[in-house]
Symmetry: C2
Subunit: 214 residues, 2 copies
């Protein structure tokens, strides 16, 4: 059974950086939020680092799980990078020649339709101007029984949360206080009625919160 998964970085005070802009592609606060994740061996290996360095504890266990069993991805236009070069039909996003997904990726957009882009390594970007439920149905069919990940950014994440479409939500809560950004916590009010909450702290101090639909 396909489940809809989402992994979100959030500060202890509940902020996710606002959606990226051309001036701050990934948001100024991303470094602080993702430090314990980018320190894992799994993440480093994904970047081609074969030194064997990187943490191998609790954070790395979650990082490995991130890449397992996902058959299709959904993301917002900003996460693809569509807003940066809206008029360039050859722009293939921020993810390089060989994006880390290796699956069909459905990019939500309200701009003019674009042809799909096939990248190296099994990633194909499809652009869809449709309700999230409809795009999710298409991604689920493409996932072939594996899970669908909703990648972000924060606007897309909110849309899926609001629609109650997320089965498994993994929050990487960094023990920092950003004091700015989007208030993720406000979009989780009431989620305990449908999802069980578990918590775990990594050696790094990172708090992993899992909300799983039962």
């Amino acid at each position: 059974m396909t489940r809809v998964r989402m992994d979100l970085f959030v500060s202890l005070d509940g902020f996710t950086p606002s959606d990226p802009t051309p001036d701050a592609p990934m948001g100024a606060d991303w470094g602080r939020l993702t430090a314990s994740y980018t320190a894992t061996r799994t993440f480093r290996e994904r970047l081609g680092d074969t030194s064997g360095e990187g943490t191998t504890g609790v954070d790395d266990r979650y990082a490995r799980a991130y890449f397992e069993g996902v058959g299709a991805e959904v993301m917002g236009a900003a996460m693809f990078g569509l807003h940066s070069y809206p008029d360039d039909p050859d722009w293939k996003g921020w993810w390089g020649d060989e994006p880390p997904f290796g699956t069909p990726v459905y990019v939500l957009t309200h701009t003019a339709p674009r042809p799909s882009i096939e990248m190296k390594g099994g990633t194909t970007f499809h652009f869809r101007d449709a309700p999230v439920e409809e795009v999710l149905a298409e991604a689920t069919a493409a996932a072939g029984g594996l899970d669908v990940r909703v990648g972000g950014g924060s606007r897309t994440a909110r849309a899926f949360l609001r629609a109650g479409l997320v089965d498994d939500l993994h929050l990487l809560v960094a023990p920092v206080f950003l004091g700015r950004g989007d208030r993720l916590w406000d979009h989780l009010t009431g989620i305990e009625a449908t999802h069980a909450v578990t918590t775990e702290v990594a050696e790094s101090g990172e708090i992993h919160v899992t909300l799983r639909r039962s």
Copy 2:
């Protein structure tokens, strides 16, 4: 050296229940926030339960530390219960004949001065209409080298945080989403400049966050 300590219950989405009112003395959400604390053996023993029941893990370690080394307490009028019977000079608060403090307790109030009240078990309530710095200085002198605890409620906690007076802040973060109350997280923005953050998860799922001035 006296340190100023504060222990606060907060939900994962950053809410502390609003200050109590006569209709909801401790706030409707307190039960959910304090469940793992009231389940500890230390708390039960404080209530006179000699059965030996109660949890003895990480939550209980923090509960024991709560009562250790405190020489004086400061709290808001609402936490004492002053607002419930403002015109009754004989009202001795919500804490029973033998309050759990066993120290001088300085109650912040803007109402008419009241005489101090000596209770059983070493607790004496003093009522002060003065700036928090001034009351803290008096409490520090009374603590005789031990720590001063700022007990709450949320308005008093905010006043001490805003004034930068808290050396050690222990947050008992319950893995629940209240969606209402006072937004504690908003009052901690920037605290990392002066305080080191550590995190730990208890067997109950409760997240203990410690902010310690270095």
